[in-house]
Amino acid sequence: MTGSDLLLQLDGVSMQYGRGETAITALAGVDLSVRRGELVAVMGASGSGKSTLLTLAGGLTPPTAGEVVVEGHWLSQLSARELATLRRRSLGFVFQDFNLIPSLTALENVSLPLELDGWTSKKAHRPALDALNIVELGDRAQHFPSDLSGGQQQRVAIARAVVGGRSLILADEPTGALDSTTGELVLRRLRSRVDAGAGGILVTHDARHAAWADRIVFLRDGRIVDESQASAVSSLLSGLPA
């Protein structure tokens, strides 16, 4: 494996909220890397630091210690403008609370990252519609978020994260509002995106969804306490009979 396979590297990353006696250490010295073609799941109790980890990986806030490296760029060395460009082009973020813009339609929400990157809205609509179709919401393209169910809004947020072929997808509980069939659909699409050369971090409570990952890291009190890596060949079962 070459260095360019490395999409994300967290190197001794810590995050403290607040100062002094009331300071909360949300992450304490986390090392984690994601390669091309790799889906990493993060599991841990509520409050263990999962969302914080994603926020730092996505360059939304700088860590209080350690270094975040995305596609070879040290985020601490980038100007605000360079960081914004990198985030738009390389990172797809699915927020826990969706973060859709209420005054924009589903299609406009999904087009937005491309338009911010200089695409005309006409040019952006085609890949945006493709992304909506991937999550089976093509027929809701002209609806506003307020006209969509929680699960549908979540799927719009997922479409927005994968539009335009971004290489690193960071998803915070992306199946939380979905029924189990739709959740499975989303996982399948995320998995095939990663298999096609992207990388991803999937934060989830759901063991069955985490099991789609190549690696699962377990967070407790801001530290990675264990890791599970699937072996290529199952020791439990012979394969499908002919």
């Binding site: 599991m43 109790a45 998995r191 409570h205 063991a207 069955r208 985490a210 099991a211 789609w212 990952a213 699962i216 377990f218 407790r220 306490v225 264990d226 890791e227 599970s228 890596q229 699937a230 072996s231 199952s234 020791s235 439990l236 079962l237 012979s238 394969g239 499908l240 009979p241 002919a242």
Partner: protein, 202 residues
């Protein structure tokens, strides 16, 4: 035990000989539960002793066929018509391990749970990967295999959820001053076996 009843249900389709019965069991369970021929013959002996099967013809190749009796047919119908009940005997090894571990001093229960969680998730990952590499089933044998894989996936998922639940329960119990180690209770075992009695091990 379900091997016994499974073989009986297969024999309800017609007389079989030992190897044949093994092959039938194998293909009907997607080869997920390998049986050796010794197990087959032992099971057949017990079924015959209980009057559920009887010896039938020997064919030109010298194969000893076994056929089901009326009592055997009744047993198959009862098996199919009743739920599988988890008895005390099938009580979960892991639940017992955790219950005991909680009562021991100097054991980091969170760590015991995490070790198990990692193993359970690895199992779940392997099963998911195996299943996802599979297209829709194209034969009855593949369908049987998929049914068993799904059941293993759901069992592993349930175990992972139970571990999360136990972790929360223990955290709350600890906060309430429960979940303390139990020291050996020297006052109790009056009715135990006297130490002097030498017993052959069972």
């Amino acid at each position: 035990m379900s091997v016994r009843q499974s073989l009986l249900a297969i024999l309800n389709q017609g007389p079989c000989y030992g190897y044949q019965l093994r092959a039938e069991f194998d293909r009907r369970t997607g080869s997920t539960w390998p049986l050796n021929v010794g197990q087959i013959y032992n099971t057949l002996d017990r079924l015959e002793r209980d009057g559920l099967v009887q010896k039938a013809d020997i064919d030109a190749d010298g194969q000893n066929y076994v056929e089901i009796t009326d009592a055997g047919r009744t047993e198959v119908a009862e098996w199919l018509g009743s739920p599988v009940v988890r008895t005390m005997a099938t009580r979960d090894e892991l639940a017992i391990k955790l219950a005991i571990a909680v009562t021991l001093p100097g054991v980091d229960i969170a760590q015991v749970i995490q070790v198990q969680r990692t193993a359970t998730m690895r199992t779940l990952q392997e099963l998911t990967r195996t299943k996802n590499a599979t297209a829709d089933p194209e034969s009855a044998e593949q369908l049987a295999w998929l049914l068993v894989v799904d059941s293993l996936i759901f069992a592993a998922e349930a175990e992972a959820r139970w571990l999360d639940h136990s972790e929360h329960r223990l955290a709350r119990a600890r906060a309430a001053g429960l979940a303390k180690p139990l020291p050996l209770n020297t006052a109790v075992p009056k009715r135990g076996r006297p130490a002097k009695t030498v017993q052959a091990s069972a």
